[in-house]
Symmetry: D2
């Protein structure tokens, strides 16, 4: 008996109702790999600062798919022809674009699956799904990879002004309660148009684009790269660095099979199929359940770090534009060793340095093009006589050092600015 | 060196900013037992239907504490004297009121800690905290237990119109996106007043109370007792019933130590202190991480149930006012055994019956009293000439049976109504 | 040269963007008679209590048209065929449904155009527009009058659950800030379906309908029939009663020509065409500009009443279910005469009695029918086992007397309840 | 008998409830001059583009007063002492700050009361109220004029980051539905602090200030200086220019006494007391009621312009950074004369030129100072390493010409950019 598809309807506090009518999209949504995104927080450790930010990658992917549908409808109304196949493929591409995210989103990228970027994993997983779904994702994959000639489809999935960003800014702003992140995604979509198969924004949308760029930059510094969040992420990173060593000496270190598989795999040879199998079973619950058990492990570094993250006794962090002076880092380490009764090597787990960067406007992802009433195409900065290209395009890099609060006060604590 | 307290400020998408100034409340908030509530979903399995409902007990407790502060301020402005100690105690009582909730909130109550209601656990945990905090929770506990003579404090914590309900209706409505649950909590609080140490609502707030009662009832049927949610909860319940048996035969059944402790404890003698220790370590991640591992267990019942919940292949459910006919249940079981290739005993895990109830207005929790402009006190139904007391006070009981979708169609599928 | 139509887009804080694509609907929207609705407050004098309630009939009509479009789309997706002509006619019917409203909406109905209900005026104006637009409103008028055989179109325009009510509850709730009026209009529309050309609501929408009925009732008592609003409306009514008399003695009484035309017309013979011409020129500004001038008129009744409404020194009002005792009204009048130094006849303008009524569910407008999953059609009360039909269907009548605050205290001021 | 004051509570869709407790503030609020602001649209003709923008100066003043109270509370919590008199005065100053606005806010400034800025009128009216209220506004006036030594009070009333701007951005954004204007006013207020009696913003508020500046600039170009709004304002301006001439020849030109008084007063000598008397009686309804009558006046210029604004047949406008070439303006005039059958002099009323300007950051209103964690005070641009001072501080000037749509197409229509 043929399976009958009726539309799936989701309540979304951000957009109202989201209706998924396409049978293929429904099946992808029901796939265990997509369901897994429902156990991965969109904002990683952000919830430690913004307790409302518990929303998941699942919900974001659903929201982005909704916006894609809105965008395609808007373009069709303006005369752009979009075939049924193209529509389905565009929806599939955006639905699956984050499939490759691991637990706590970006935090453990590189530490659980070393050297593999989530976009590459997303692609790998889409390709496996393509086999499972009898090549019905061919076009979606081409769009995702930017190989489909009608460029605007890829631009809607991944560019400086794609439905991915439109959704995550709205959604993260909604769930964190940081009203400043609210953007006019509906308005921006209404201003989209396709010229020569490229995505452009109509002239009167230029203020909304300015607002979008500014809102995005602010969300970076106020939420995504919030000091406390960075400190918690550094902690989580060190927990896994330590666990990877402890597991070599403690073969019964607690962990779900998938997590243990990946921990052991480090430094050993494994088929990438094995790795991917484990990875696709992993989500936030493996990590947090393990951290809870590890918080009483006999290794003092591991247990101490785990207790801190569990009970929200987070690292203090200094985040600044100038590089962190090496002698300050050294003082942090020495004092940590002394106060926490650790060896110098152990102290390295408690004092982390690094840098974060944000670029308000990034030409390497392609220009945002503005379609003037005169018919001319200008790039965003030519069209906006207000924002400063040299500033917004500048990559702002900030350096940080984080350390246990207990070591304060420090002798060399540098003065701000 | 004395610890310096500066106010803690939380972003809350529902109320804006929540400021916690009281040092004791801050310390309680930092306690591991309270932090644990940040890993327990407020709505249990609700997120399977409403993907936005990922908010936690932590956030709800914080919100209720905020509303308590608002209510106390409103009462003070109307001349009710509230001492500093009473204020602190009322805040502590509401902050901690849900401490005794286990993973997935109500779902596993009774199945993980058999026979212990979450309110009794909350009280037990508050008493332990009281020792830890050198008796500074004496008054909070008296308020929580309803033993403090100024009754309105307890009524604000736990009555038919308390800040607990005001917060959860607002919050659940916000995160699920079910706009119908929005109530005028700010307005209701402005209408509160204390007469003879009892909480009353001023006459002009009577429509807001009506609305609150109706919204609450609707949230019950549309969200808390939503069919699909009930089906998922039944599934989770059966998973733990089965795991409790499997663990007796499979001593290395995966699980965090706390979860294994409680699974083994069933039917054995254990000090209640041991049980409480394990319980206070347990949260949603223990449960979900285990379910993921169990989904490949060799026990066909356990693994099948776990797969279903993981991949959202939930039970179908029939929910109705009349009792479920026994022959219908039997048919469900037989067909499940046949279709899923199970023994009759195994099939019982896949066909669950039960009932749920909701009462719009429950006198046993005390009347809602209305303070008329004339100076008279009336109970809610005397004051509202619109709502039907006999209907709203009626306990609506619905019976359900849930079963795997695969067994449809059934011969005796009863006609609705 | 042919006029080119591009869609008109309106920003709406309630729904986001409203797009009007149909050329005829655009032309109707541009018509002076529709533009006039932009100078008539949707809520009459409500803004005197809720300062945000300044939104206009224009905006409500636009919103209802948007919801009509949503509803038609939802029905089409469920297989109901709707021709292009029917769609246009349904949009036109709802756009124009309030055309016959005069200044301050309901307040002056009956006092400016005596004995003519706004719906009859709407119809009359639609018929004139039909001539102007070369019969292109034939079908719209048939739908409006309930003469088109496919009943659901008329039900969407005017029934117990029409897009008119869905919009005004949402909109009034939004602009007044009375959150309790928020309803799930989007959800209700998703639950609509057409069976045998009749509008029905699917079973799972029954809670939303309950909520809609309760929200509507509360909005009536809390906003539309708010005591202070009723007092202001009585005042406005008396102002026009008095002005109608003053104008006979003071031929140069200030007023716009249209207003003076209608004031003089009372008691004289005039072609209904003349009356309609004047009426269609009248809006809130004629009324308020005149009241301001009249506030210094030598007639003490007229000027006193006008000053009160201008400077918000509104009548006090007693609103209650029992009838107002005649001796209480007499005392009010005597005391008013005495305190304000008026003749007994003059005092009648300052002490008004009357009654208001609201019916939560009104069968005379047709049942709300629920389409059960079983395929049966039930009326709302059969489907909802919760709300009390006898109560919700009961017409609640309240009587009031309003009078100047200065006459308090009164000897016979009756005790509440 | 002493008048008893109980707090006045207003429902505000933007902030929830606004409570006015201070008796003086209540009396000011009840004063006819303040009530008059309830008949003046906050956004002038903006509603012609954003139909939701019907909110009044009354509501804005109320909202700004609420924010002032919030700000004073926040400062007190941080240790700034504020006396009861200072609090009352600050509230009075902000409540009355817009008293001097005339009909349609900025539009008719200079055309009805020639050469008088609304702030000077506000001050004049506050001084008259001060007499009426027995000098109880002395301190409020000192704060308003910037003469009170504790500068932060004046800064809260009138600076680059005052509660006036915080409210109008939030409120205009809410009522227009332009979500991009939403700012974190609550957050900014939480970040305020007083150092040496000057208002500063704490370092971590710097992103919110950036956001505020960008949102304000965008609201200017997208709402306040929206092309269509500018066109409508030019039209209104010309209507009054023409009416001022017509009245000289048509002594019975329709108008309320106050409006006629001011129209006649032009070019004649009048005591400024007379002018102020008339002015304080004037609001939007005088203007719109007159326009309606004038739309059938025999003067073709006056009636044509009035019809256009009434029926929303607005001027087309060209708005651009380069100046409008004179020959283009000439062509517009010639063609208007020809198409509309007007004399060259008459055509000048239909073709208007002018310029508008906006400055994102205006040092002449005083710097926004940031209080760094290090204890240093920096100006905003020193503290924000992201926004470009040279751009945001630049005054952006745009020139426009507006003309009747009927004259298109034009030969010399210049190409954009």
């Amino acid at each position: 008996m043929a399976k009958v598809f009726s539309p799936k309807i989701f309540n979304d506090p951000v957009y109202g109702f989201i209706t998924i009518s396409d049978p293929l999209i429904q099946q992808l949504l029901d796939h265990p790999w997509f369901q897994r995104l429902g156990r991965i927080a969109q904002g990683g450790m952000t919830y430690l600062v913004y307790p409302g930010a518990q929303h998941t990658r699942f919900h974001h992917a659903l929201g982005a798919t909704y916006l894609m549908e809105q965008a395609l409808n808007a373009l069709e109304r303006k005369g752009t022809e979009i075939s049924k196949e193209e529509r389905q493929a565009a929806l599939a591409a955006i639905l699956l674009h984050d499939l490759g995210h691991g637990p706590y989103s970006h935090t453990l990228e590189g530490s659980i699956m070393p050297g593999v970027h989530h976009e590459r994993l997303s692609l790998q997983m889409m390709q496996r799904l393509n086999e499972e779904f009898h090549q019905s994702l061919d076009l979606a994959i081409a769009i995702f990879k930017g190989e489909y000639p009608r460029t605007f489809f890829n631009q809607l999935v991944s560019s400086q002004l794609d439905v991915d960003r439109l959704d995550y800014l709205m959604r993260d702003s909604f769930y964190t309660g940081v009203a400043e992140g609210i953007i006019g995604s509906e308005r921006i979509i209404k201003m989209m148009r396709v010229i020569d198969d490229k995505l452009v924004i109509e002239e009167k949308g230029v203020y909304s684009v300015e607002k979008f760029l500014i809102a995005r930059r602010l969300m970076y510094w106020q939420v995504y790269l919030h000091k406390t969040v960075l400190g918690a992420e550094a902690m989580l990173h060190e927990i896994f660095r330590r666990a990877g060593e402890v597991v070599l000496e403690d073969p019964i270190l607690f962990g779900t099979p998938a997590l243990r598989g990946l921990l052991y795999a480090k430094g050993q040879e494994h088929s990438s199929d094995d790795l991917l199998d484990w990875f696709t079973q992993l989500d936030d619950t493996d990590v947090m359940a393990s951290i809870k058990v590890w918080s009483t492990h006999k290794d003092p570094v591991l247990s101490n770090l785990c207790q801190r993250i569990l009970h929200r006794r987070l690292f203090k962090i200094r985040l600044q534009v100038p590089e962190i002076p090496e002698d300050f880092v050294q003082e942090c380490r020495q004092k940590s060793a002394q106060v926490l009764n650790l060896s110098p090597e152990q102290a390295t787990y408690f004092v982390q340095t690094g840098s974060v960067a944000n670029q308000g406007y990034d030409k390497s992802k392609g220009e945002i093009n503005i379609y003037m009433k005169s018919g001319k195409l200008l790039n965003f900065f030519e069209a906006s006589d207000n924002l400063a290209p040299e500033n917004l395009s500048k990559k702002v890099v900030k350096h940080y050092v984080c350390f246990p609060k207990e070591i304060l006060p420090l002798a060399t604590w540098p003065q701000a600015h």
